[in-house]
């Protein structure tokens, strides 16, 4: 479809061809959208299936697609082709350095913003009004940032495609839930326990499969994730089955103050504040922020150590690594286990925040979302992954806010339905547009004279 510009005069635009493309694509779109959108199957009163005629809508959509294709053929593709020769020429070092500076600047401002965010929100919306913004956006996004950073070690640094990361998230969540309820241990004790258990599972699951080549590893990890979820659903005695486990104890403020309304050492009571769930949310926000930053800190440290360098070398070329005496199986297992550990931490936090866990939270879709965040972030870059998480999770959460669209599409319109659809579209579009993700440069971890960024084009992705 990337037709090179074969127009007669290079200065002009081949409208004829673009028009032809648009019409053909429009017809194809109608052939597909006609039945799927235009003839909606619905159940009538007698519970029979009937067809609802929406061919008009299908036609409109087809026209939009056709016009879109026309615009692409007429303007976008020729522009890319003309520019293509220039952009393939080495992205100059100066450009890479400029981008690296921007990245660094972003990181610092981002960090400051994250720390003052709840205070900002409270001052804008008041204590009660802050709950939605702090919890649904702040905490939610940060959980995915942490999961992204955890999985980043496995996929971004070591280049191992893990499609079952949600399994470690589940291990962390269920271990906190079960141990807290049955043994009355505090969150602060169980947090490291959850991490260790998850890491342990990482080693057990990783050991037989890490020697498989890339695609197979992906499928096996996906299968493992599903097996664990199905076991959780069916082994009711252990996990409570589909109903899950509820009444999970909240996190206490280091054991001194509790956030239970009824507890004598309730935080709000102790400080003579009006009772509100907002305080717990803010506390959770800072907790997940610190956990995420811990993940980032350890990852950055590991990158500078031999193990981190071995991960990146492994990603480039496993055979070369083995020829240098590196036990790549251990290297992979370490990446897997450490990534799993962070997933476990995030899982136990998740359980404490929700107060309730069920297998439904750990479907394959979750793994896919986290993988998408890491890959779209690009190149094992911390800031890239964080930005991707903000964009994808924040973006889809924002969809819930777009009530004004109801005015356009009618009051039955529920933008939430489109959340996952747009998510999938974003995945495809970004992959086709920028296969290497947002951040396409790599920072070396050691230098003799000067640290120079490495262009993403040079970074190979070797076997598995």
């Amino acid at each position: 479809m990337n037709s090179a510009v074969k127009s007669k005069d290079r200065a002009g635009i081949d409208f004829g061809r673009a028009l032809k493309d648009g019409v053909i694509i429009g017809i194809i779109a109608f052939a597909l959208l006609g039945p799927l959108v235009g003839l909606k199957t619905d159940q009538n009163m007698a519970n029979e299936l009937i067809l609802q005629n929406r061919l008009g809508l299908a036609a409109i959509l087809s026209v939009i697609v056709g016009v879109g294709r026309f615009l692409l053929s007429a303007f976008v593709y020729p522009w890319i082709a003309a520019r293509g020769n220039r952009s393939k020429a080495a992205v100059t070092l100066a450009e890479l350095e400029a981008r690296a500076r921007v990245t660094r600047g972003l990181s610092i401002t981002g960090l400051i913003f994250l720390f003052v965010y709840p205070i900002l929100i409270i001052s804008l919306f008041g204590v009660q009004g802050s709950i939605k913004w702090v919890d649904n956006y702040g905490v939610q996004i940060l959980i995915y940032v942490m999961l992204g950073w955890g999985l980043n070690i496995v996929i971004g640094l070591a280049g191992l495609l893990d499609l079952g990361y949600v399994a470690f998230y589940a291990v962390g969540a269920y271990s906190y839930a079960l141990l807290a309820i049955n043994f009355h241990l505090s969150f602060w004790v169980l947090l490291p326990v959850a991490g260790i258990l998850a890491a342990f599972w990482g080693i057990i699951l990783g050991f037989p499969v890490l020697r498989l080549r890339g695609d197979y590893l992906a499928i096996v990890t996906l299968a493992f994730g599903e097996i664990i979820r199905l076991v959780l659903i069916n082994w009711k005695a252990f996990s409570g089955g589909s109903a899950g486990i509820s009444s999970i104890p909240k996190v206490t403020m280091f054991g001194i103050y509790s956030f239970d309304i009824s507890a004598p050492n309730n935080f709000a009571k102790a400080f003579h504040l009006a009772a509100s769930s907002a305080y717990y949310k803010v506390f959770l926000y800072y907790l997940i922020l610190l956990l995420a930053l811990l993940t980032a800190f350890i990852t950055l440290r590991l990158r500078r150590l031999p193990i981190g360098r071995a991960w990146e070398a492994l990603r480039e070329d496993e055979v070369a690594c083995r020829s240098l005496g590196i036990n790549t199986t251990n290297t992979k297992l370490t990446a897997f286990a450490i990534g799993a550990m962070f997933g476990g931490f995030a899982g136990s936090f998740f359980a404490a925040r929700q107060g309730f866990v069920s297998p439904e939270s750990f479907v394959f879709m979750e793994s896919a979302v986290i993988v998408a965040i890491v890959v779209l972030g690009g190149m094992g870059s911390m800031i890239g992954v964080a930005l991707a998480a903000v964009a994808m999770i924040g973006g889809t959460e924002l969809l819930r806010e777009l009530d004004f669209l109801k005015l356009v599409f009618g009051k039955d319109f529920n933008p939430d339905q489109y959340r996952m659809l747009l998510f999938g579209l974003a995945m495809v579009i970004i992959m086709v547009w920028k296969p290497r993700g947002f951040v396409s440069a790599r920072q070396p971890t050691a230098f003799l004279f000067k640290r120079k960024s490495v262009s993403g084009d040079l970074v190979k992705e070797g076997h598995g």
Partner: protein, 294 residues
Amino acid sequence: MTTSHRNWDSDPVLTVEHLTMRFGGLVAVNDLSFSVGRGDITALIGPNGAGKTTVFNCITGFYKPTTGMMSMRPRDGSLHLLERLPDFIVARKAKVARTFQNIRLFSGMTLLENLLVAQHNPLMIASGMTILGVLGIGGYKTKEREAIDRARYWLDKIGLLSRADDPAGDLPYGAQRRLEIARAMCTGPDLLCLDEPAAGLNPRESAELNALLLSIRKDDGTSILLIEHDMSVVMGISDHVVVLEYGTKIADGTPTETRNDPRVIAAYLGVDDEEVEEIEHELDGTAGNEGGRA
């Protein structure tokens, strides 16, 4: 280039005995036996498809040979039976390093990083298997500085010090080949296996390669085993030449001996065995030399 009387018989660093490699019905290497002398530069030559890279892959543990024994005797006096060892153990314990026919550099990492990855094992120990390193204790920093210094020494030796912080993928072809050799040397090997190190090099670069290999032999005492087609390299610096054809050894001796061996000549010319005598008669002077046959 001094031949010290069949050094490879008296003091072999690597002995290959009756090595056979079969892939299904195809016999790639057929009952091969030879020795690599300690401190020698040994060349493994032969027409394409003779099985030379297969021999390398067997020696370095990437293939499990069908039958045969390979004994490696590093400087510390230990003995390693390579046919039983996995590839990374051959590199780590038996001290055999290698380069590849198609260069396998970490192109997205800088030259310095490439050379640091080669020193992974001692650095891992220095970082307390990472745990101490994360906590910031245990003297890792010192060991890392030493590793960087070692990398600096090799970058200087191959003339790429000024490009230490550039990505390896940016280097021109000849420089990449030299970097791969330097990276292999950073593992501190006793035997360096080079797979066509001169491929794609022009005569000047080949001469530089010769100088580099000779200096490696002199300064580091590393024995070198190389697969090569470039005769200026083979004849110029080798002490010992082993010739393979269709997986079988047809000559084994000093460069001069093998150069004059009619069977070797015939193999390179693509002549059948039966015609060898005819060719011998046709060749002036060297023809009647029966003793030249290996």
